[in-house]
């Protein structure tokens, strides 16, 4: 069976700086992969490269065996790769519901003419989309905020919104960039539980960047460790925790939470 | 039939007209480089300069006095604009700044129209209209004077930026205002000076061009040529602005002869669109132009 995500010798360059160096990894369908590493390791850049936000200098990306590297970002998204953002990137002036509706819009289409003239078809599809969006909001305890404008909400709530929005699009593969940053322990646990439940129900493969080791170790089937743009280790969470190279990489890095 | 003499004659005309466009482009690029604001009202600064020259000439003041006054009043106008209209919105989204500078231009044009009406005026160039013959070519003294002034202004600006404290401060601010501020440079003062210099140059362009094209409220239209010149040169390059201006002048003069009059006016704008699509950074500009 083809892997859901195959990254082959991927490199990303910014001018003279090599941010991602010859990275290869394979994530099986239904797997939850953790991606950890000290700050500046290139984790977010790797996600940016997979989603087409930054240009690839070498190597390629395959989704279910089909190449997606080189496609424009929105096309990659339409193939089934979704992501959440380290800094949320909210549609600040829109309500939480509208934010999530944009996600739903990836598979729910109302043609322009129908939308303009408020035809029965437009009503049907908009109602259906709203129902879907509200269901996702409920999973993430966001119903109370559905009409609140995103700009007025605290960071942790927006992180949940970002998660809900990305999952509402029903991706085949979801790349999550520090989904629990800014959240309290209980918030983080609930958000991750909701995301995993949805992922299992919809058969979504997850690749998660996390600095919260407690969450990471409990969540991930396999963990990939990056440093200085390259992969330095890969294995089961408990193996990684005892891995000499990994521990050395984190020594002196203040972002690490409790190990083990 | 394009003979060498005709071509050279056209080139001379193109360079002299191009010098004005170069000055306008310079006036656009200087505040853009330092403060990131593109003054869409620069065309009307040129118009203002022409009308100031008109008033002062009608007062029978000698030419050097007129030149100095145009420069000073132009600079003063820039300071007023920067302080009163630009400063309150300098942090606003780009849309606001673009529209505001446009509006300032139209405001100036409106005031000029009210005061002077639409009827055209003219002033004489400082060296008369008797063409100078050299090497079998005909040189218009006003055109020569424009070229000389443009060259002097360009050299002056480059020396200023390279050697004076304020000039170096301006260059520092254009690269990184935050770092400049940390180094003790008063960024607001730099902005004010860059506006003053640019409006002084713009006003001077109005004075210089007036004997060639007359004085009327519509002069400001030549901002379009100045903008095209800035695009060709790349918005952040001073030598680029000059090269761009001369290029536009030459293109305009030659296309007037080579293409029918119907389409010759379209050439600059088609060129503008092509450049914006394929090479917005022009010849010398940085590939990614970000407003800091």
């Amino acid at each position: 069976m083809t892997d859901r995500l195959t990254v082959e010798r991927l490199s990303v360059r910014f001018g003279g700086l090599i941010a991602v160096r010859d990275v290869s990894l394979r994530v099986a369908t239904g797997e939850i992969r953790g991606l950890i590493g000290p700050n500046g390791a290139g984790k977010t850049t790797l996600i940016n490269a997979i989603t087409g936000t930054v240009p690839i200098a070498g190597g390629r990306v395959l989704l279910d065996g089909l190449s997606v590297s080189g496609l424009p970002a929105h096309a990659i998204s339409r193939r089934g790769i979704g992501r959440t953002f380290q800094h949320v990137e909210p549609f600040a002036e829109l309500s939480v519901l509208d934010n999530v509706l944009v996600g739903v819009g990836r598979h729910s289409h109302v043609p322009l003419a129908h939308a303009a003239f408020a035809t029965p078809l437009a009503h049907r599809r908009e109602d259906q989309a709203a129902r879907e969006a509200l269901a996702v909001l409920e999973r993430f305890d966001l119903l109370a905020y559905r009409h609140t404008v995103a700009a007025e909400l605290p960071f942790s709530v927006l992180k949940r919104m970002d998660l809900a929005r990305a999952l509402a699009a029903r991706p085949a593969l979801l790349l999550m960039d520090e989904p629990t940053s800014g959240m309290s322990e209980s918030e983080a646990d609930r958000a991750i539980a909701a995301a995993c439940a949805l992922a299992e129900a919809e058969k979504i493969t997850l690749l998660v960047i996390e600095h919260n080791m407690r969450v990471m170790m409990a969540l991930a089937h396999t963990v990939t460790v990056m440093q200085n743009g390259g992969v330095i280790a890969e294995g089961k969470p408990f193996e990684i925790q005892r891995n000499r190279t990994v521990i050395d990489a984190y020594l002196g890095d203040e972002a690490i939470d409790a190990v083990g | 039939m394009m003979t060498l003499t005709l071509a050279l004659q056209l080139a001379i005309a193109g360079i002299s007209v191009g010098s004005i466009y170069a000055l306008v482009a310079l006036a656009i690029v200087i505040p853009f480089k330092s403060s990131g604001v593109l003054n869409f009202g620069q065309g009307e600064i040129v118009t203002l300069g022409a009308y100031i020259a008109l008033i002062l000439t009608q007062l029978a003041l000698p030419y050097p006095v007129v030149v100095a006054s145009v420069l000073l009043l132009g600079a003063a106008g820039g300071v007023v604009i920067e302080r009163v209209l630009i400063r309150p919105i300098v942090k606003a989204p780009e849309f606001t700044l673009i529209i505001a500078t446009f509006a300032i231009g139209l405001l100036i044009k409106g005031v000029i129209s009210i005061r002077f009406g639409d009827s055209p005026n003219t002033i004489d160039g400082p060296f008369g209209t008797e063409p100078i013959m050299a090497a079998g070519l005909r040189f218009n003294p006003t055109s020569l004077w424009i070229f000389v002034c443009t060259a002097l202004v360009t050299i002056g600006v480059m020396l200023f930026l390279r050697s004076t404290r304020l000039g170096k401060a301006m260059r520092a601010v254009s690269v990184n205002p935050e770092a400049a501020r940390l180094m003790g440079i008063r960024v607001e003062t730099v902005y004010r000076w860059s506006w003053a210099i640019s409006t002084a140059i713009g006003a001077l362009a109005g004075l210089l061009f007036a004997p060639l094209i007359g004085i009327n409220p519509e002069i400001g239209q030549l901002i379009l040529r100045g903008l095209l010149a800035a695009v060709i040169g790349g918005f952040t390059s001073i030598p680029g602005a000059i090269v761009g201006g001369l290029a536009v002048g030459l293109i305009e003069t030659f296309s007037g002869v080579l293409i029918g009059s119907t389409f010759k006016n379209l050439v600059p704008f088609i060129l503008l669109m092509v450049l914006l699509v394929f090479r917005p950074q022009g010849l010398f500009g940085a590939a990614e132009i970000k407003r800091v």
Partner: protein, 321 residues
């Protein structure tokens, strides 16, 4: 429930307006028509600039394309106005897409310059192809007729009123639907939009075409209401006036377009004794709003509405014994 009440109120207001207008002289009715034409154009520009976030200095060019297009169809090919105007709008939309294709990849000053360039190109084409457009001297529009009978000022007003209501209705529908969400999304966060499968380029291009369509309708209507097309109406001052409507009214909402266009359309009449000053007054107003009330009059409206809602529950509580 609320929105059904609102629809009835709006329909009643429209009927009242139509009834009131039938009693007015033809000049006030003419002015009302022009105001509503401005509303239609403003709605188009607001979708492009306020919602999809693209500055455009050439909106008046699409009004021109609609005006000349529909007039030429009627004058040369005998197409009746009710077909000519939509066709003119279609032509404008196509030109909008043509400009939008490259322009939607540009931002900031480069986009402003591209639209400015387009404006100039259209101006030059209007002037140079004088055998088609009448050049600088303008084009007389054949008198609009319905069923062979020449239309009265009031009949034209009703047509404009109908189109204006249609414009408001369609624009509100669009903004409440996925189209509106996508327009705003590409402005608010292009990265998030891309990540959710929205093609920023395609949405922005569509925004150009859409706004040009509204402008084209406004142009076609303007031609039959005024009876004459004057190219001076489509220059830089006119483009800035269009922008003033949406800045003063409020960017990003249909209400803002309506308020801005309605308020500022009343001005030329008020300013008639000081006509030469109109450019100056417009620009001062624009600058004033940009500096002091950048979100437009519609924010004032919202504040009032919110205050009224706060008082309403108390009244209801008092009504209960």
């Amino acid at each position: 429930m609320q929105s059904r009440h609102r629809t009835i109120v709006v329909l009643l207001a429209v009927l009242l307006l139509a009834a009131a207008a039938s009693t007015m002289g033809s000049y006030p009715v003419y002015l009302l028509s022009l105001a509503m034409i401005n509303v239609i154009a403003a709605i188009g520009l607001n979708l492009l600039t306020g919602n999809s976030g693209q500055i455009s200095l050439c909106h008046s060019s699409f009004i021109a394309i609609g005006a000349y297009g529909s007039t030429l169809l009627t004058a040369r090919y005998g197409v009746p106005f009710w077909a000519a105007i939509p066709l003119g709008a279609l032509l404008a939309a196509l030109m909008g897409a043509l400009l939008g294709a490259p322009a939607s990849r540009l931002r900031g000053i480069y986009l402003a310059l591209a639209t400015l360039g387009f404006l100039q190109i259209v101006q030059i084409v209007i002037e140079e192809f004088a055998n088609l457009t009448g050049g600088v001297r303008g084009l007389t529009v054949p008198k609009a007729a319905a069923g062979g009978v020449r239309m009265s000022e009031y009949a034209r007003f009703l047509i404009v009123l109908g189109c204006c209501m249609l414009a408001i209705w369609t624009a509100r529908n669009l903004l409440a639907s996925r189209v509106g969400r996508e327009l705003n999304a590409v402005r608010l966060s292009p990265y998030a939009a891309q990540a959710l499968g929205v093609s920023v380029h395609r949405v922005k291009l569509a925004a150009f075409a859409l706004s040009a369509a509204y402008a084209g309708v406004a142009g076609g209507l303007q031609a039959i209401v005024v009876g004459f097309i004057d190219p001076v109406e489509f220059g830089v001052s006119a483009a800035l006036r269009q922008i003033t409507f949406i800045v003063v009214g409020g960017m990003g909402s249909v209400g803002g377009s309506v308020i801005g266009a309605a308020v500022l359309s009343a001005m030329p009449e008020a300013l008639r004794p000081v006509k030469e000053y109109s450019d100056v007054i417009y620009t001062l107003m624009l600058l004033g709003f940009l500096i002091f009330l950048p979100h437009g009059l519609v924010t004032v409206w919202h504040v009032i509405a919110r205050r009224m809602r706060r008082h309403a529950p108390t009244a209801a509580a008092e009504a209960r014994p």
